[in-house]
Each structure stands twice: as C-alpha cells, then as structure tokens.
Symmetry: C2
C-alpha cells in the first residue's frame, strides 16, 4: 500500500524528515460544526456502531485540515460492551453503567467475546474509511488501556479521581487482576482484528493511569499494557498515551512500543531524557492553549518542535481537543506544523 | 506557648526526631460519623461560618486519633466570598457560582475586603479552637492558591480539567493576572490575620496547579504563591501543597516555603532529589490506599517513612481522605506512624 502522505509512518520509523507529522486527539469531535450536525441526529453509540457514520465522522477533519493521519472514530468503551458490560451514554453524565462491576460473581461471569462478531461494526468502519481515504494518509486504530477500562467498569461512570475503582482494586487486588486480564485478552484480540482490517498503527489510551502511584501503576496498569504491546508490536506500530504517566516513561521506553504520547505537564527535554531518546514521542500541546491568540499558537508550536526535535516526533495535543476550540485556532495549530521548516 | 506535642513544629524546623509527625488532609471530614451527624443539621458554609461549629469539627478527629496537628475546618472559597464573589454549595454539584467571573467589568469591580471584618468568623473559630486544644498540638491554617481560587471563580464550579478557566486565562492573560493579583492580595491579608489569631503554620492548597504546563504554571500560579510566601514566611511556617505539581518542585525548593506537600505520583527519592533535600516534605500516601487491608497499610507506611527519611518529613496523605474510608483503616494509618521506630 503506497500512501500519498506517509509522514506519520516515516516518523514512527524514525526517519529523517523535513517536518514532523501532525494530527490531533479527538480531531473528529465536538469542535467541528459538521460533527455537531450529526450528533443532533444520532446518539453516541449509534455513531460508533454504524460503520458508515463512524467512517464519515472519521473523514470530517480530513476534509477541513491538512492532517497527516486519520484516527477511526470510535470509543474505548466498545470493548467492555463487547464483553457484555452494558455501558450507556447518559445525557449530561457521560458513560453510565447501571450495575457497576464490583463482585467476584460479576467478574467470573464475564466471557471473552468473539471480537470479529461482536465488534464487527468497527472492522467494517475501518474498511469503509480506507476506501474514503483513497490512500491519502494512514489510519490509526485505538483502544483504552485495561486499567482505564477497568476504572469505568468498577466506578460505573466517569470521575475525577475514580476512588471507587481504585479502592476496589486495593481492597481486592487479585479479583481486580482477573478483570484486568479479561479486558487485556479481549483488547489484544480486538486490536489484532483492527490491524487485519487495515489500520497502520494502534494507540492505547491510558487516560487514568496517572491516578496511580508509580508502584501501583506498575502493578495494575503497565503489565497489562505491556502484554498488549508484546502481542501487537510484531504486527504494527504501537503508541502508548498515558495521561499523567510521566513517572512511567523510563519503563515505557524499555517496552516494545513504537511511540509514547505525553501530556503538557512534562517538558520535551525531560521526556527525551527519561526515554533516553529511544522512542518516537507524540504530543504535547495543552488543548486549552488553543484559546491563545493565533500568533501565540504559531510561536508555541514552533518552539515545541524545536524542543522535541523534528525527528522521532509526532505533533499532537497533550489530550483531546476541547469542544469550544475556535476552528481558526485549530487551523493555525495544524498549519504551523505543516509550514514549519528548520 | 509551650505545646504538649510539638512534633509537627519540630519537623518543620528540621530537628532530629524519633518519628515523623502525622496528620491527614481533610481529617475533619466525611469519613467521620460525628462529622456526618453535624452535616445533616447544618449546610456547608454554615459550618464554615459559625465559629463554634468550625471549632467543634476541627476537634473531632483529635478526639478520636493521636494526631500531631489540627487543621482549622474551613474552605478555600471563603476568600472569594469575602471578595464579594458569591459562591454557594449546590447539592450534588459542589461549589457553584451563579455568574462566573469572565469579564473585565466584573474583575474591575472586585474590591479588596477588610478581611478582619468579612472573615471575622474564621479568626473567632481559631480562638475557640485554640482554647479547646489546650495546647495539645499546633493548629494549622490554610488558604487556596490564587490560581486554584481563580479556577473556581472563572469556571463557576468544580471541573476535571477547568478548561473554561484555562481558556480564559490563555485568551486574556493580562485580565487573568489582574484577578489573580486581587486574590493574592486578599489571601496575604487573610493569612496574616490567621497568624495573628494564633495558627502555628499556614498551608497553601494549589489543587489545580497540576493542570498547567510547567511554563504556564510559572506564569499563572507560582508567582502568586511566591508573593504569599514572601509575605508570610517571615511570620510563620509556610507549606505549599501543589497537587500534580511535581514539575515545579525544583523551583519551589528555592522559595521561602518551610515545607512542600506532594501527592503519590512522585516517589520519595525523586522528591528529595528535586528539592535537593532543602525542604521539609509532607505526604504522600494515596488516600484510596486506605482501602488496602490494615496489614498492607502498616507495611506501606513503614516503607514510606524509610524512603522519605524520618526527619524533615511530615506523614500525610497525598490528597484529602476519602469519604468512604473505613475508620479502622484511618486508625491503622495513624498508629503505624505513632508506633514507628527506626
């Protein structure tokens, strides 16, 4: 497969480039009026579970901006849904599980799904998106980290601190690990099937890893991510984005991950030092900084690229783009990268 | 004033001790049945604003546990309230501001209050508490950091990410700084009056500093904390607790703060290295870890003290104790410190 723009893949391979590639986490999202139009018509999981819609949403930002990668529109909670854990999207609450997972019996009863069947809609969305992309840029697939999925399953909803999930974990570590392992096994099968369907890389979102101490992270989050990396890295490029997980970067740099995503609380120099310059890094513009005046954004992007270095680097935000981001400022951010020269 | 137990103050002075002192953030809080009983009868700000109630609540954990310090029951939002910013506590929402501060006119109109008058109830609560304490242990006073107060004022309520507050700040940095300065000036007056009323130390809570990049932290949070330290450190011991602010520890270690509070995402050795062992450190047990079996808690506390070292160290949690913490486990935590020996 020859891509018209393979900058993202060349960055992942560590090649010497004119400029780094750029994409934005949640680039197909609520800051786009065309996304909001679809959002009025279809519920959240309908958008995820209807391949034509997921593909259309995936393409929306690509039509507007000169992005170097597409990422399949989906949600990390489709994995527990496939495991029979019945997440809903509740108005003004977010993800919602009527009966959170908190007993041995519930964990025991969870069966590993045939992902090819129960997540069939994702693989069909990939195929449709690949056609629409016409080899313009690579397509990224993603999944939540087992710890992050665990947090939602036990808490039953979003949370600032996921205290219930953490408390459950610390009070019942062995039981917690059985659930974590089931999520891990499902995620491995899911991501393998995504690769088979045509994605060029997979990214793991450990959105809640940063709520753990370094010791607990290495007990309850990292070993499961590492299992996924062991299985997936021989098949495709793997990217681990751990929000707030600066303390695990040294360990992550020893893994089979191709690239590591970081947030804006860690500066480029320290991230390079901690990863011993072994890994491609991705990040780390504070999404709220897209509210700066455009001139400031351009200057900050320029400085960010200089500090990370143009190679082994993928420009991105340090978390998902915010719903109220001015389109003009998103354009400024992307163009600052596209027009960047030494 | 001779205290019966001055371990906390001796730790702040860097003296050689048999064991470190211990107290817990939010030790007068929702995990205590006696607190919950009062909570049923009185609204949140009534509890803060009635000196007898605030003093009684402050004393509750002292009656139950062998703690080495008391901290005055209050709230960081009493400062903006004194500035005429009308925070309410809304059922199942938390802090709530009907009209968030988002315009130049609003910021312009804020007048610096006479804290001795508008926060009189706090100083009377300190006096009553001092009597009740009978010189048993020192009393700590506290305030929010200007950045953290700013976040609530602009966002108008609690938030995971305070995107609105941050976006306002990045879009209108000069206006934001005018509000930050007004909060700072008020906080300095407030803390000076607290010291005059008898507290032995003041702690600043920068609960949302960790949402900023290191550069933005040093522009929007640290300079205001530093102003407070410059004014207060000649008068009393000062402690800065910056949740998620590991990246600022080096800078903080150069300040006039007596001690630095840290959360559990940074390990003791790194905290000591970053602060060049110049400062007393306070923390950093993950409150959710109080759901571990008691044996595990005792072992973890022992290890934590060994890693921080028994001197220049105050044992605490890395954030407030959680509402659903078993009393038995809180007892285990405190006793593990009290009984600790080399």
């Amino acid at each position: 497969m020859t891509l018209k723009n393979d900058l993202y893949l060349r960055a992942l391979r560590g090649e010497t480039l004119e400029r780094p590639p750029v994409w934005m986490m949640r680039q197909a999202g609520r800051y786009l009026p065309e996304f909001m139009a679809l959002r009025k018509k279809y519920g959240f999981f309908t958008r995820c579970q209807t391949p034509e819609l997921a593909a259309e949403i995936t393409m929306q930002p690509l039509k507007r901006f000169p992005l170097d990668a597409a990422i399949l529109f989906s949600d990390i909670l489709v994995v527990p849904q496939a495991m029979g854990i019945d997440f809903k999207m509740k108005e003004s609450v977010g993800p919602w599980l009527e009966i959170p997972i908190r007993t041995e019996k519930q964990i025991e009863e969870i069966r590993l799904p045939e992902v090819e069947i129960s997540l069939d809609y994702v693989f069909r969305a990939i195929e449709i998106t690949m056609e629409k992309l016409e080899k313009r840029v690579p397509l990224i697939g993603f999944a939540g980290s087992p710890w992050t999925i665990f947090c939602y399953c036990v808490e039953g909803k979003g949370s600032k601190t996921f205290d219930i999930a953490k408390s459950f974990c610390f009070g019942n570590p062995n039981l917690a690990k059985r659930l974590l392992q089931k999520i891990t096994d499902t995620t491995i099968n899911y991501l393998k099937a995504k690769v088979k369907s045509g994605v060029s890389a997979v990214q793991l979102f450990d959105s809640w890893g940063g709520l753990l101490s370094p010791e607990d992270y290495h007990e309850f989050s990292w070993p499961y991510i590492d299992q996924i990396l062991e299985q997936l890295s021989p098949l495709t490029h793997t990217v681990v984005f751990g929000k707030g997980c600066w303390f695990a970067l040294e360990k992550m740099a020893e893994s089979k991950a191709t690239a590591l995503g970081i947030d804006w609380t860690i500066n480029p120099e320290l991230a390079r030092t901690l990863t011993k310059n072994r890994k491609v890094l991705q990040g780390n513009f504070d999404p709220a900084r897209l509210h700066s005046p455009p001139k400031v954004i351009t200057k900050m992007v320029d400085e960010m690229i200089r500090r990370f270095g143009k190679d082994k680097y993928i420009v991105n935000l340090g978390h998902g783009i915010l719903p109220n981001t001015p389109l003009k400022n998103a354009t400024t951010f992307i163009e600052a990268v596209v027009n960047w020269r030494i």
